[in-house]
């Protein structure tokens, strides 16, 4: 439950939901003399069909964000709290200053641009390695690994469940050998790497650390991010293996190990991206993601970790969707909310614990298969929102992603879009350029209030794991996605090229992944199993099972005896496969099945 909410509570933010203050005489005069005759002469018309969500009961036009939140005609000082000007530090602060609404860096992007980090991975490790070298040669700053579904689900390429899936949605990684190929010729002390891997995150991370070690890299200097966010898997993306409690334990193992052994590595990227893609509104994405953050902190504290030892390395990952101002408000609010949670609820004292850092990716769900080149414009708008929201790093989607994994040409245009924003548009030259906008500040305050309302509900349910077990976030998402889809069907929300401005089209060339990836990965696995010491693999897996069955207790300054990470590292060094290591953990923890929430 929230603690200490009486101290340092900012002035009441709820007042911004209606007109917060009486309008000024000047605004009243404008309303009477300018607005009224204009409305008489030119009544407002909804954007999209004049039905359903686009009409008030009295028949006048209603305007809403993509999330369905009403947007007013005009925002003025009357839409900000009465004490806005008296408490600038509580409401906003300056850039680099609590509550960090205006960003975590005093100089915005003037000291350092955001990291242009393009997510990619497909087919074999050899092919993906070539794409990585291509991206780095074209000005990408960091790498971001997409793994295929068998890897995400902890199966080897030759497992029966892997048929048809190997190398399709990402790169196939079965063992340390594949990870060595994936990063061959790439200096892991100099390149930051993000890995989108969740249920088997600790296994892939161990492989990465061993590759770095064999390159001669110092773990103290290796930097990157593991996604490792299992809660959003239960909520949205559904690539879970084990039940929630042991999964949370594995995550806390990585927090503890990381804080002691890899101080520059982010062991988690708490992700709203997938929650949004699964149909959430902007507010639901924000609230569920930050509350997932609360849940991880609670579990780590129960282990006995110190808040300021691990929270500085928690990172976040948001979606950047179509509704420009709503997204900017979401990003700005996220920093303030995290600051409030860390100070009021967890009493964190390190500034780094209180500063929310995030990666953003443009919204795959918003891309259309129809007239796919239109997606270049969508991606540019979404990327701009992420930059104006103060993101630390950004992935821009390729225009062909509603059809398949991107071609090289499409991937280049996506990266170029970021470079145009950074180097040509001028938007990176001023910190938080929209700060003080009546509209953006009003939306930001509403996001904050809405998120705390969700937190109260989730607290009352006993936390996020409990809420997930009851299907609460899953049902909220299913409802929101259906409401939106109905609005699209009714043409109340226009999707250009899909429900309006439609043309006849011929299919365009896409990246096509052959079934042969499974064959070559299977052959590699057979050679590996013949070559390695089977005896050593069995001993290492046995030791891991034993540790996984114990309850770890934090031991200040050293890794807990039962922490699984050191045991997984030993399995990996012996060339145990992803499938074998995950199977060992399945033996101990069992697997999770979701009830069908429809």
């Amino acid at each position: 439950m929230s603690q200490g909410t009486t101290e340092k509570v900012p002035p009441d933010s709820t007042r911004a939901t209606e007109r917060a203050q009486p309008v000024s005489a000047a605004e009243q005069k404008w309303t009477d003399e300018i607005l009224a005759p204009t409305l008489q002469k030119f009544p407002e018309r909804p954007i999209g069909a004049n039905t359903g969500t686009n009409r008030y009961p009295d028949g006048t036009a209603r305007f809403t964000t993509v999330s369905g939140v009403p947007v007013e005609r005009l925002y003025t000082a009357a839409d900000l709290p009465a004490d806005w000007d008296e408490h600038p530090d509580t409401y906003l602060g300056a850039p680099g200053q609590p509550p960090y609404t205006r960003g975590i860096r005093a100089t915005g992007y003037r000291g350092k641009l955001w990291t242009m980090r393009q997510f990619s991975g497909f087919a074999t490790p050899e092919e993906t390695n070539r794409r990585y070298k291509y991206l780095l040669a074209h000005g990408g700053d960091g790498l971001s690994v997409a793994f295929d579904l068998p890897t995400l689900m902890g199966y080897d390429s030759d497992h029966a469940h892997s048929e048809g899936e190997v190398g399709k949605c990402g790169v196939a990684i079965d063992s340390l050998e594949d990870m060595e190929i994936l990063f061959s010729g790439i200096d892991l002390e100099k390149t930051t790497v993000s890995m989108t891997i969740n249920a088997p995150a600790s296994v892939l991370w161990a492989m990465y650390l061993v590759v770095a070690e064999r390159q001669g890299a110092d773990w103290n200097r290796v930097s990157g991010t593991l996604q490792n966010d299992i809660l959003k898997e239960y909520i949205a993306q559904k690539e879970y293996i084990y039940p929630p409690a042991p999964s949370m334990r594995l995550v806390v193992d990585t927090f503890e190990f990381g804080s002691l052994c890899t101080p520059r590595f982010n062991p988690i990227s708490i992700s709203g991206y997938h929650i949004r893609e699964a149909g959430a509104t902007a507010l639901q994405e924000l609230a569920f993601t930050l509350y997932d953050g609360v849940e991880y902190v609670e579990w780590a504290l129960r282990r006995g970790l110190d808040v300021d030892d691990f929270v500085p390395r928690l990172s976040f990952f948001f979606n950047s969707h179509n509704d420009f101002f709503e997204e900017i408000a979401k990003f700005r609010a996220s920093r303030k909310i995290w600051y409030r949670l860390m100070t009021e609820r967890f009493h964190a004292t390190q500034p780094r614990s209180q500063q929310l850092r995030f990666h953003a990716q443009t919204a795959g769900v918003s891309l259309t298969a129809q007239q796919p080149r239109n997606n270049i414009a969508r991606v540019a708008i979404q990327a701009l929102a992420a930059v104006l929201g103060g993101t630390q790093s950004l992935h821009t989607d390729s225009f062909d992603e509603a059809l398949a994994l991107p071609t090289e040409q499409a991937a280049r245009i996506a990266l170029r879009t970021q470079q145009i924003l950074a180097y040509e548009s001028g938007v990176a030259q001023t910190a938080d350029p929209l700060g003080g906008s009546y509209f953006v500040e009003n939306l930001t305050l509403k996001m904050e209030q809405g998120a705390f309302d969700y937190f109260d509900k989730l607290d009352a349910m006993g936390g996020m794991v409990r809420a997930i077990e009851q299907g609460y976030p899953q049902k909220e998402l299913a409802e929101s996605s259906y409401v939106y889809q109905r609005a699209v069907e009714a043409r109340e929300k226009i999707v250009v090229g899909v429900n309006d401005f439609v043309i006849e089209e011929t299919p365009q060339p896409i990246l096509y992944i052959e079934e042969s990836v499974r064959t070559s990965q299977t052959a590699k696995l057979q050679r590996l199993r013949a070559r390695r010491s089977q005896d050593e693999v069995s001993r290492r897996l046995h030791a891991l099972r034993h540790a996984a069955a114990q309850e770890p207790r934090a031991d200040k300054g050293k890794v807990s005896d039962a922490n699984t990470m050191p045991y997984i590292l030993e399995c990996v060094r012996a060339y145990a496969t992803v499938g074998e290591i995950c199977e060992a953990l399945r033996d101990v923890y069992g697997t999770h099945e979701e009830s069908c929430w429809t």
Binding site: L149, V365, A404
Partner: protein, 144 residues
């Protein structure tokens, strides 16, 4: 929308919405399940990671007239032929099979040769899927 009723026998059309393969992205499957239900059909949703065997068993047990497969991962060329062969083996190949998801254009002919009646790509109106199923399911014999 009109009612999702089998016109000849005036019983609701029964549809199995299934999610085969390892992928967990279930927004599309859930939205379509709800749209078919709102159109008056009886919908059974299998949940995630169903093998072709599990899907065919459920289809026969639930006595459905249509199977809707949601596939986004690229595994369709492995899954669909196995599923169609199993339906044939069980003498259930009168069940209408439709696929929704991201299917590359070069695979559509192959899937249709296998017996898939229609492929609904991203952006397909819900109403179009409802209409197709209503127009193409085999009328049932009068239920016992």
């Amino acid at each position: 929308m009109q009612s999702g009723v089998d016109q000849k026998n005036e019983v609701p059309i029964r549809v199995l919405v299934a999610k085969p393969g390892l992928d967990g992205h279930d927004r599309g499957a859930k939205v379509i399940a709800r749209a078919l239900r709102d159109a008056g059909m009886e919908v059974i949703y299998t949940g995630l990671r169903q093998t072709p065997e599990m899907i065919v068993n459920a289809a026969i047990q639930e006595d459905v007239q249509c199977i809707g497969l949601s596939i986004l991962s690229g595994a369709h060329n492995a899954i669909v032929p196995r599923l169609m062969a199993l339906l044939k083996e069980c003498g259930a190949n009168d069940i209408l099979v439709v696929v929704g998801g991201t299917i590359p254009a070069q695979d559509t002919t192959f899937l249709k040769e296998q017996g898939v009646a229609a492929i609904f790509g991203p952006g397909t109106p819900l109403g179009a899927t409802v209409e197709f199923i209503r127009a193409n399911v085999k009328p049932r014999g009068l239920a016992a």
